[in-house]
């Protein structure tokens, strides 16, 4: 929103929060799904997020991150994924056997490639 519009009217148009599944891009998801097939098993129970150390004191939320990847919403993930310390506690909890640590590792790689248009 241009500063002049907001100055002129005193408000700007709120942006939508809606995830539009028809305009989001799932290349990152495809990349991760191929290299770490256990990613598909996640049923979003949140056990990983509950055990996560980084999640206690930062906004890092592994369950939500995985959900965003599945939807193709990459923008919120750029910094998010760097917060994981790869400690592996989540791996111990996951009831479906998702290799969560590797999902994060592959995800950072995928996001970097996505931004460089290499996917």
């Amino acid at each position: 929103m241009s500063a002049t519009a907001a100055d002129k009217f005193g408000f700007a148009i709120n942006r939508t929060r809606l995830i539009n599944y028809d305009t989001t891009d799932r290349k990152v998801r495809g990349y991760i799904s191929e290299r770490e097939p256990s990613f598909r098993l996640c049923f979003a129970c949140g056990g990983c997020t509950a055990s996560c150390t980084a999640g206690q004191h930062t906004t890092f939320n592994l369950r939500r991150m995985n959900t965003y990847i599945r939807r193709g919403e990459i923008a919120p993930l750029r910094e998010e994924v760097t917060r994981c310390m790869l400690c592996g506690k989540c791996l111990l909890v996951c009831p479906r056997g998702v290799n969560t640590r590797n999902v994060v590792a592959v995800a950072s790689e995928a996001i970097r490639k996505f931004e460089r248009n290499e996917l």
Partner: protein, 353 residues
């Protein structure tokens, strides 16, 4: 699209609308935005349909606008509404006819509250008695002005000089019908067609020759909502709501929008200007906007009223494209000639004291 499915739903949500002898209560702000609408309504009711519509000179705002903005407490609002009922009782009327959709929602809500909580009704009676010495009866029938025009849409069509048809192509005009949230979303059974597929305006459009557009954001609020709009910091949210609707209806290339609430046409009309200023985007063809009308204006137009007497010059988004499509004659020079005398309502029952 299976129209039978919709027709089945419309048939289910029907309601009692009085036939005659209405007590008309005006909108507090509507006449500022669309000044010709209420006059057009009264002219149609009295001169065309020959109905008895009475306006008490002492009636006030229902304070719905204050109630929904958290400024007026509910008990005060109820007492003001009770006074409206008292004026109606004193004038000998039983059929309440609000001009504003928020009023309609408010009267419905209050009567429903009193029905479930008679002790509240009793308290309000005491309030009114103490404050003004008045007593009241609950209205026998409550119908919004758009319900009444819907009820008499065939009679209006019979007297119509114009149709909602593009005279150049012979095709029906594509019309977006936008219903005020307070009409059916609160009490779906009190709206014609219910809340999902309201029929009150769609019925008018179809009867008058137009074609109704069903687009994904049909049900979305325009964003008026009182409190969020009245506070400047919240207006970004309000305008975003209207914008959602415009983006969604644009691919269907509507010719016009018809509404039945005071706030909705104001928003849908004015926000097109603001969005154009902020983003440079317009939603109609040929770099135009989509003209927005109240149902009274549409009824007035098809009955042959002069567009400037209907107040269409007050619209932010120019209405001329629709007038041209319908083949309505108007004098562009007279558009802002406000000194011209407007024909007044001639019915003798206009003011009774």
């Amino acid at each position: 699209m299976k129209i039978d499915g919709k027709i089945a739903i419309w048939k289910e949500y029907q309601k009692e609308i009085a036939d005659d002898h209405f007590f008309y209560v005006r909108s507090c702000v509507r006449q500022n935005f669309f000044p010709g609408s209420e006059t057009a309504f009264l002219n149609i009711m009295r001169d065309v349909l020959k109905k008895d519509v009475y306006e008490h000179p002492c009636h006030t705002t229902c304070t719905g606008i204050g109630y929904h903005s958290d400024i007026v407490p509910i008990e005060t609002t109820m007492t003001v509404v009770a006074r409206q009922f008292a004026l109606m009782t004193e004038a000998g009327y039983e059929n309440l006819l609000p001009s504003c959709i928020t009023s309609f929602g408010l009267y419905t809500e209050i009567m429903d509250t009193w029905h479930h909580f008679p002790e509240v009704e009793e308290r309000i009676r005491v309030n009114l008695r103490k404050a003004t010495g008045r007593e009241f009866k609950i209205p026998k029938n409550l119908a919004h002005a758009s319900d009444v025009i819907y009820k008499f849409r065939k009679e209006i069509a019979a007297s119509a000089k114009f149709k909602l048809i593009n005279k150049n192509t012979g095709e029906p005009l594509k019309v977006v019908d936008h219903i005020g949230c307070h009409y059916a979303k609160m009490f779906p059974s009190k709206g014609i067609g219910g809340a999902e597929y309201p029929y009150v305006l769609a019925g008018m459009v179809e009867e008058w020759g137009g074609k109704v557009i069903d687009y994904p954001e049909r049900r979305h609020c325009c964003g008026f909502g009182f409190r969020q709009y009245l506070v400047q910091a919240n207006r970004g949210f309000s305008i975003a709501c209207s914008r959602e609707k415009f983006e969604s209806m644009m691919p269907y290339k509507p010719d016009m929008i018809i509404t039945n609430c005071p706030g909705c046409p104001m928003f849908l009309d004015r926000w097109q200007y603001v969005i154009n200023e902020m983003e440079g985007k317009r939603y109609g063809p040929n770099n135009e906007g989509i003209p927005v009308f109240t149902y009274e204006e549409v009824a007035g137009l098809i009955l042959g009223s002069d567009p400037w007497e209907l107040g269409l010059q007050m619209h932010q988004t120019d209405c001329e494209p629709v007038l041209d499509k319908m083949g309505i004659d108007y004098d562009p020079e007279e558009k802002y000639n406000l000194k011209k005398e407007i024909k007044r309502a001639t019915s003798s029952s206009f003011v009774k004291v």
